[in-house]
Symmetry: C2
Subunit: 691 residues, 2 copies
């Protein structure tokens, strides 16, 4: 009862509290301003304006503990330090080689008004395209021993009027693999980050976090009115986080942009808020493209487990290696190579061995064969979410791969119950969220062990990306959203708008191993039926055009990109396959040129250390005629544009295959007209004329 | 990745596990059958069929603990006992005087296959219209000391095809006060119970719990596919529940009915699964109707706090008592009578005194005045969610009311942050969910303290009802959903379908103090504006017709019913007010006659110990012409039907006031035609001719 009344009065109380002790910090260009304060009850608060408009209303800060007095009210604010950065640094691989880091920093202390030794610091960094803040809790008498965080009180109070949100639900069994929803702000429930908003006036916001280390992942839940509240993944033993003071939280990040492409162009903030490379020389981390023994299992024509349809045989793998070598791919992923797939592995990750291969897969022979052909075998570790079983075997497993010259491992955390299984020393099983503190710790353990052996990790069913690839560049990619596999068996498969939402949501956080490149877009006889698919549904239609599959290689960034379809499907269509052969996966620069969340996106990227550019455009279920000015090209130079676009009559629903491939000469003064079919896309390679 | 594949295979594994050790128990009429089993991994499971059709697919049972080994796999099933009941018992007040309890019971043990001392019992009771089961965990060596439950593994796997759900979200700040959503099963997130489903074939299910004592409330969250999983409210210190073995959980209840009214007619299951009256003679618990100093505060024309608009003055109260006495009401509720309303009470429940009245409210004089007029003052305790402050003053507060002859107290747990504040002995504040273990304990403490003084409690912002009114008949009503107050300031107010959903969802759990009877359905000048509503919105239109307001007295059961509007608004419309004066609040029998969830409902009730019947019908935003057979009347007798129905042109949106009041002679062979306007309703009093 009386809820709205209270909400109105409560907001006034907060707003009215702005007082002499307010502290402000602005971005370098001055348009983004963060104000720290306390309200009438001494609760720490912050607020944000952008170009003079409120984008985050006064919002609470603080945290509660199980056994210790929390930081939530009766506190006073004091300035501690200010700093500024204007630097740049080089990525080993990424969307761009050189990352600029320009921000202003304010460090403050919130102290108990009656006991100034009870305190926490808040460090705020304001960039031109977003801000981050984190709690830094010093060692103090009132926080002795183990500290159990039961609630982080961080709020993000967004303007309510006409605010639209794009989100996937959190705290459900299936991690991040949901179809995105577009709703008014007031209709969201508990959501994963990045969660993206368009305010009534057109300003775009996205909320996420950076540097998730020794803490639990933050989801957001809708509180009273328009208050989004931090909702940390609980540990299996109850509290959200357990640690000891001193500690720091991950950075809470708010990206702010005038338009939707601005969010994509502002993602360096996540890297800048992470610690620099901790691994030293990482020249052994190798971007590239790969093929795999994988899609057949999703189609139901091969199996992970042994038997007549077993996919991971020596013979099958050599054939894929041959094709990979012929067409310039750097790797071949093989799933289902190891013992464990024949039992109820999805119920019991204990069954997996990470060192014993099936008898029909001679891993030594295959790895040698690949090496001779200039291709690397890509390793695979499906853990079924049993992180204890994986950690027990981890060193031996990575040792094996190191010896075989396997430089990349795809890991998997499919967990039947939706949670990771961790078995304590007492033998008691604990079930941990994929984004809980235990999972966060597990993934860093794996990364460090792998790095010692110069192995990179591509995590499926991962914890979300928070920019840790800066610190651990061997975290080369991950899943963490619905990928192509849903087009094999998803009921429903990914809708046409899915890849027109991902760039503005999931992709803001970092690379995704989406595994595009499906060329056979309609099911064939024998797919999606037993024995591989007991009880499964028939394979659905893929809801894209063929040209859109090519565009995804540019639109969805990953330093490793799979050509996910079967070799024979590429052999049938050599002309469009040429684009997959040509497109690089590591970039000098990336620019989002145009788009609207959920409608379409146009992105251009330049090859790292090269002069050629690549452009990708995808649309939702609506066809579009895009005009793309080519001002990003070097002025005065002529480029050959190799255009792969939807052909006459192409339509995701009725006719996905027509593709027009054509060449034109263009310069930076030209505008490229790109007709996109419903559910379609376009991929363009722009090669400068020599001389 | 691979999620649907796994889901399909996983389901098969469970389904295939039905084996020789399956144990069945059927309802007395035999149509509802529960099967207990274990799956291939030794996980306890149950499944339910109704009239030969699966209504709950094999679903997991079990629980996990923080420090002890859980009950989840490697278990074997053994029958322990069977029993049957065919009894009836009398309620002190209720929807019906005599409650039938007919069920078959099966008690089983699930034992660790390697250590039979590790075990839990499951007690299953199957009624003709639903079933309940609970875990009974005996004392055992492997569960010594404090047991922290981190997860109850109970699942409810419903058939997915075409299943529709009606639900409100759980684990959000605002307890239960949400507009209901109607979605496919697959689109629900985390939801409160009762949550109601219509399966593709038309069978209706509702899932809830009974006898929530010393445990945390159960919400449901959607797991993989169509698995609804128990999601207990966490304690502030992390785990879901803390207790010691032996212990019993609340009953997990599944109502099953052939049609929507069948759910309403099957709610005795919640009472039957609770313990009998623990209070002895409860003749002091008095159903009745009441007026109040309350709606003016919601309109913004009066205030809870002191000042020129203070509502709770001696003079104002006496005027309402006069009107109450004149028109046969038994009580007058006065809110804002006590010290504490002038500060930021919604932030800090410490401000409230429950024994000191404002200077302009002479509580002794008012209580005396009421008693002389044959009316009782109804007490009010707004705690602002600070349960520690309330518990400290509770004895003195109830002592005061006992001395003054106040026999009912409305309590309130408005909590600004959405959670209840509990302050430990160390001074550290803990914030507990409204349905967490601490809240459950607090409410029972209040009930017991009140019972010692022959006081009944009407809880607002309560924990949900789980039938505890059987054991504690002084828990006379509660809120726990959006009530009329949202029609004063809700943005949006309750939609027309709201009261056509409540009977099939929230009301299944027990009485609700909805506070109907709003006669002034459009805002007037001065309402919804400062000073009572700082920053508030203008008052919205109420989205019902006038006749529907009358129908709610029959449709929405509560042994205490408020006439919520201002005295002057009733004085303006004496003819429809007559129905409110006539309608009883305690019943000999209640029958849901017709309806569909979210569309409409028709309910008939007979006065307890009387011969007159009352019929209420409400519709959603659609107008309807209902034909209501009167077969529930005594055969061969003539009744005068006093019909209050929507008048010519009535419409919730454009013209809410037209009401037609007419009398007809009817018998049990007649069919009453009731035209309901869009957003309308009808109320009928049926009085037998004398002799």
């Amino acid at each position: 009862m009386k809820t709205l009344l209270l909400s109105a009065a409560g907001t006034l109380a907060l707003a009215g509290a702005a007082s002499a002790q307010d502290l402000e910090v602005a971005s370098p260009h001055g348009d983004l301003v963060v104000t720290l304060s306390t309200d009438g009850a001494g609760r720490p608060t912050y607020a944000v304006t952008f170009e003079g408009e409120t984008v985050v209303e006064p919002s609470q800060l603080g945290m509660r503990f199980a056994e210790h007095r929390g930081f939530q009210e009766g506190m006073v604010l004091e300035e501690k330090d200010r700093a500024a950065a204007d630097e740049s640094w080089e990525q080993p691989w990424g969307e761009r080689r050189i990352v600029e880091d320009r921000h202003n920093e304010l460090l403050v202390t919130f102290m108990d008004e009656e006991d100034e030794r009870r305190r926490f610091d808040l460090r705020v960094r304001v960039f031109d395209d977003g801000l981050g803040f984190r709690y830094e809790v010093p060692k103090q008498r009132s926080l002795r021993g183990e500290v159990a965080i039961t609630d982080e009180l961080t709020e993000f109070v967004l303007p309510e009027a006409d605010t639209t949100a794009w989100w996937i639900p959190a705290r459900m069994w299936n991690r991040y693999e949901y179809i995105y929803e577009e709703t008014p702000l007031g209709d969201i429930h508990t959501v994963h980050t990045p969660v993206t908003f368009e305010l009534g006036g057109g300003t775009h916001l996205s909320i996420h976090e950076a540097a998730l280390v020794d803490y639990s992942g933050m989801s957001l839940t809708l509180g009273r009115g328009n208050r989004l509240e931090a909702d940390l993944a609980p540990r299996a033993d109850g509290p959200k986080v357990k640690l000891e003071a001193p500690f720091e939280t991950p950075w809470r990040v708010i990206q702010v942009a005038e338009d939707a492409p601005g969010l994509i162009n502002g993602t360096d903030i996540y890297l800048n808020l992470n610690e620099p490379n901790a691994l030293g020389d990482v020249s052994w981390v190798e971007p590239g493209k790969y093929l795999g023994i994988w899609w057949g299992m999703h189609l139901g024509t091969q199996t992970w487990g042994s038997g007549p349809l077993h996919g991971a045989t020596t013979e099958n793998t050599k054939a894929v290696i041959d094709f990979a070598a012929e067409h310039g791919f750097s790797g071949v992923l093989v799933e289902g190579w190891n013992e464990g797939w024949d039992g109820d592995w999805y119920e019991n990750g204990d069954v997996f061995s990470f060192t014993e291969s099936y008898p029909d897969f001679d891993i030594e022979e295959v790895a040698d064969y690949a090496r001779q052909k200039g291709v690397r075998l890509i390793g695979h570790h499906e853990t079924s979410g049993n992180i204890t079983n994986y950690e027990k075997q981890m060193e031996a497993a990575y040792d094996l791969y190191e010896r075989l010259g396997v430089a990349q491992v795809k890991t998997g955390y499919v967990a039947d119950g939706g949670e990771l299984k961790r078995v304590g020393e007492d033998g008691v099983a604990h079930y941990e969220y994929h984004d809980g503190q235990a999972a966060v710790e597990h993934h860093l353990t794996a990364l460090r062990e792998a790095a010692e052996r110069e192995i990179s990790i591509n995590t499926h069913e991962p914890v979300k990306d928070t920019g840790l690839r800066r610190t651990y560049p061997n975290w080369i990619s991950r899943e963490g959203a619905r990928g192509s596999e849903y087009d094999a068996w998803g009921q429903p498969p990914n809708p046409p708008e899915h890849t027109a939402i991902l760039p503005y949501t999931r992709m803001l956080s970092g690379p995704m191993d989406y595994t595009p490149g499906i060329f056979k877009l309609r099911p064939e006889a024998g797919e999606g039926s037993p024995p591989a698919y007991p009880g499964g549904e028939p394979r659905p239609d893929v809801r894209t055009t063929l040209a859109k599959q090519l565009a995804l290689y540019v639109v969805l960034y990953s330093p490793i990109q799979m050509a996910a379809d079967l070799v024979e499907h590429y052999e049938e269509k050599p002309e469009p396959f040429q684009f997959i052969k040509d497109v690089p996966t590591d970039w000098e620069e990336s620019i989002a040129l145009a788009g609207e969340v959920g409608d379409y996106v146009v992105i251009a990227r330049q090859r790292r250390g090269g002069e050629d550019w690549y452009l990708g455009a995808v649309t939702d279920e609506e066809g579009r005629a895009l005009d793309v000015p080519l001002g990003f090209l070097e002025e005065g130079r002529t480029y050959t544009a190799e255009i792969y676009r939807d052909g006459e009559g192409a339509d995701w629903e009725t006719n996905p295959y027509p593709i027009a491939i054509e060449s034109r000469e263009v310069t930076s003064g030209d505008t490229l007209d790109l007709p996109l079919a419903p559910g379609g896309g376009a991929a363009v390679r722009l090669v400068p004329a020599q001389g």
